[in-house]
Amino acid sequence: MLGYALRRLAGAVPVLVAVSIFVFAFVRLLPGDPARLVAGPDATAQDVALVREEMGLDRPIWEQYLRYVGQTLQGDLGRSTKTKLPVAEEIGQRFMPTFWLTVVAMVWATAIGVLIGVISGVKRGKWQDRLGMVFAVSGISFPSFWMGLLLINVFSVRLGWLPTGGYTDWKSLILPSFTLGTTVAAILARFSRSAFVEVSQEDYVRTARMKGVPERRVVWHHTLRNALIPVITMTGLEFGSLLGGAIVIETVFAWPGLGRLLIDSVSYRDYPVIQALILLFALEFVIINIVVDQLYAVVNPEIRLR
């Protein structure tokens, strides 16, 4: 399995190279002169020219690309044009907040979401199913900025139990991860319910029941195991997209994550930071895909990885 993972990782190198070229070209296609934005709203033409030279943007584009590739290969991601801090540091400061927010939100959301989905699937049409789907539909429909502000108002302003935002101690993680996880839990509940229902209509489930396998075993083994495959795929995708930052949650809870960094960098045309972030997100997805494939094999040993 390890050999498989390594082969997959090696296979991802061309993907990353392609992403790097694409992003490099893409950020330069964005309208707007980064030098003008860096120099600020009341800079003179002279200031702007100075900044352009400082950023190396006065050089031909092929030279800029070669320089970028050379530096990236040496592990140098350059400096942010906005703060002039090293890009690795800018991203480093925000990676862990995003990582913890994602992990905590995903853990509870997956547990609760899949549980609700399975219960709804087993008790299809009964009150448990309806209750579960009411939760799921509400979770998907409530705008998260609204829910976040509501939670802040209740738990921080009125009750004073939890901080309004910021990345400080474990308490500061509760409201944002709850808000973030609600949508994910709702999506997974609906998704796992339909996967469960679909699988429970398969022949082998009926056969198992007919053979007299106890109902509990039919549910947990024959059905859930197979229903989990698409759920794992979905969870992986959600995990990957959350690792790219959750802009709304980060904004409402003043959470110093990667989503806000990306948005800020795009509006500031901070080329080095945009390039490094997109590359990081691509890498995260590659790794998550490999892990997801491994999980298929854990859940269903009939799937073998070569």
Binding site: P31, R36, L37, A43, W100, I152, S156, T235, V252, S267
Partner: protein
């Protein structure tokens, strides 16, 4: 399929990606602040801490905690001496001699003296250092150290607004030792003479603590100042209500009622120096006719503008510069008069109005402002297409124009804040005949030789009486020519805890925190 009974649970856990134990969160700092620590909720992250290399008001406010200049501003944006005691200017406005305050040291123990002034001013002025605010001191020739307490500044050309210019944050004094030691990294290792010393700055939080050896007796009164970036308006208000912050800005005008209803917090509402206007391209039809420009000034109800766009938190713009700027000279307003506007348009040959377009940034306030203008101008037959644009796109369209004849710009909904507090930077970048984009910001493509002459003469002298006379002339001429629709001056709104006193937001939106006290 045969499985051991424990497998489903195991695979479920594996599928969830649950690790056995969650390690603790990184660098933890206590959320609870002691009673004498001031936290300020701000909208954005800082861009740096080198005052000559930042151009956003927030970073400049942060720099004001740590650094000071020879001159600075009081809460009303009047010029006050800080590290200088006095100055003298010669008749040509080319030589300025500063008497410096004695016994001031930088946070690292380096004495503040004329040598430090020389190092700092020459650092900013030197284009090789590539600092964003280099142009502010571009006219500097050299600094002469007369004696440790006297610095004489020689300019290449006369510049009457020089003392105001160095009161801008870019003119603040950094420790010469730290400049030598940190080089470009001074951006994150700020060492000044100010009331607070630097502790740390990461992603969204700046921490500073009291400078125990501060030269002003009895100050500062708080133990520490922390800036926390909270981008969401509602969350920032919640932070104030929950007591996590004692001061927040900005406060959107539509949220003022929320704060008014809260018992322990209050609104701070002050006029700003931010002028709101619509510039009209004076080189192109139909705006090349002064009657059209005057007509549009009559066509807009400025009181309604303040009420609708700013919920009443705005005043009139009754001169080309706001009242809080130096050398402001009040003019007779263009009264709201639709009949007169129509008459003027008819005289100019547009009895049925015309079609045009208006550009602006795509932020909420600009969009609201443009929609208001669209509705007002429709009443006199002028059909406006509004084009809100993302700032990069907008900048490209305005500043990529090399020849003024090629400009696509017709009307531009804009705002301007003169960060030096002086009429020069409030008028010259915007209305000087030599300042068409991309050189400066004359988006009206307005050129009146008499105005140009007055603006140039006003910086060729340092005599306030003479400068006043020139700016009076210039403002009267501009007002009559109406290159802009003069809209209003917005207020700066903030909210603070009732425990807090002595903290001010000056009219350019910056913060003065030196005298802040918590009860």
């Amino acid at each position: 399929m045969t499985h051991s009974p424990s497998l489903p649970r195991r695979s479920l856990i594996a599928a969830l990606g649950v690790t056995a134990a969650l390690p603790w969160l990184g660098h933890v700092t206590p959320a609870l602040a002691a009673a004498n620590d001031l936290t300020v909720g701000v909208p954005d992250n800082l861009t740096g801490l080198d005052p000559a290399d930042v151009n956003d008001t927030l970073s400049q406010s942060a720099c004001r905690l740590i650094f000071q200049g020879l001159y600075g501003f009081d809460p009303d944006m009047k010029l006050v001496p800080v590290l200088a005691e006095s100055y003298e200017a010669d008749e040509t406005a080319k030589v300025f001699t500063f008497k410096l305050r004695q016994g001031v040291t930088f946070h690292d123990g380096t004495p503040f003296n004329a040598e430090a002034v020389k190092v700092n001013f020459e650092r900013v002025a030197n284009p090789d250092n590539r600092l964003k605010r280099q142009s502010l001191l571009a006219m500097l020739d050299r600094v002469e150290v007369v004696d440790p307490q006297t610095a004489r500044v020689h300019l290449k050309e006369p510049f009457g607004a020089f003392v105001n210019t160095i009161a801008h944050p870019a003119g603040m004094m950094l420790s010469p030792k730290a400049i030598a030691q940190f080089g470009k990294e001074i951006n994150r290792n700020p060492v000044g003479t100010g009331p607070f010393t630097f502790v740390s700055w990461n992603a969204d939080t700046l921490r500073t603590k009291k400078n125990e050896k501060y030269w002003r007796q009895g100050l500062p009164k708080v133990q520490s100042v922390t800036f926390r970036s909270v981008p969401e308006n509602g969350a920032r208000i919640a932070m104030l209500q929950a007591g996590e912050a004692q001061f927040i800005y900005p406060l959107p005008t539509e949220m003022a009622p929320v704060v008014q209803r809260s018992p322990n917090v209050e609104i701070v509402d002050k006029p700003s120096i931010i002028a709101r206007y619509v510039s009209m391209n004076c080189m192109q039809k139909p705006f090349n006719d002064v009657r059209v420009r005057q007509a549009l000034n009559h066509a807009v109800n400025k009181e309604a503008y303040a009420k609708i766009v700013y919920n009443g938190f705005a005043g009139p713009l009754d001169a080309p510069i706001p009242p809080k700027l130096g050398f402001y000279s009040k003019q007779d307003p263009y009264p709201y008069d639709v009949a007169k506007a129509k008459k003027l348009l008819a005289e100019a040959g547009y009895p049925n109005g015309f079609e045009t377009e208006m550009w602006a940034n795509n932020n909420t306030l600009s969009q609201r402002g443009m929609q208001f203008m669209q509705q007002q101008l429709a009443a006199v037959g002028v059909k406006v297409t509004v084009l809100p644009m993302e700032s990069g796109v907008l900048n490209d369209r305005i500043w990529s124009v090399q020849k003024p004849e090629d400009a696509q710009l017709k009307m531009y909904y804009g705002g301007w804040s003169s960060s030096t507090g002086d009429a020069d930077w409030g008028l010259r970048p915007l209305l000087w005949g030599q300042g068409f984009p991309p050189k400066l910001y004359n988006t009206a493509y307005y050129s009146n030789p008499e105005v140009d002459k007055a603006l140039e003469a006003a910086i060729a002298t340092a005599d306030p009486a003479k400068r006043e006379e020139f700016y009076k002339q210039a403002q009267a001429l501009i007002w009559k020519d109406a290159p802009w629709i003069f809209l209003g001056v917005e207020n700066v709104l903030s909210a603070q805890s009732k425990r807090l006193s002595g903290m001010y937001r000056i009219p350019d939106g910056g913060l003065l925190i030196e005298e802040a006290a918590l009860s």
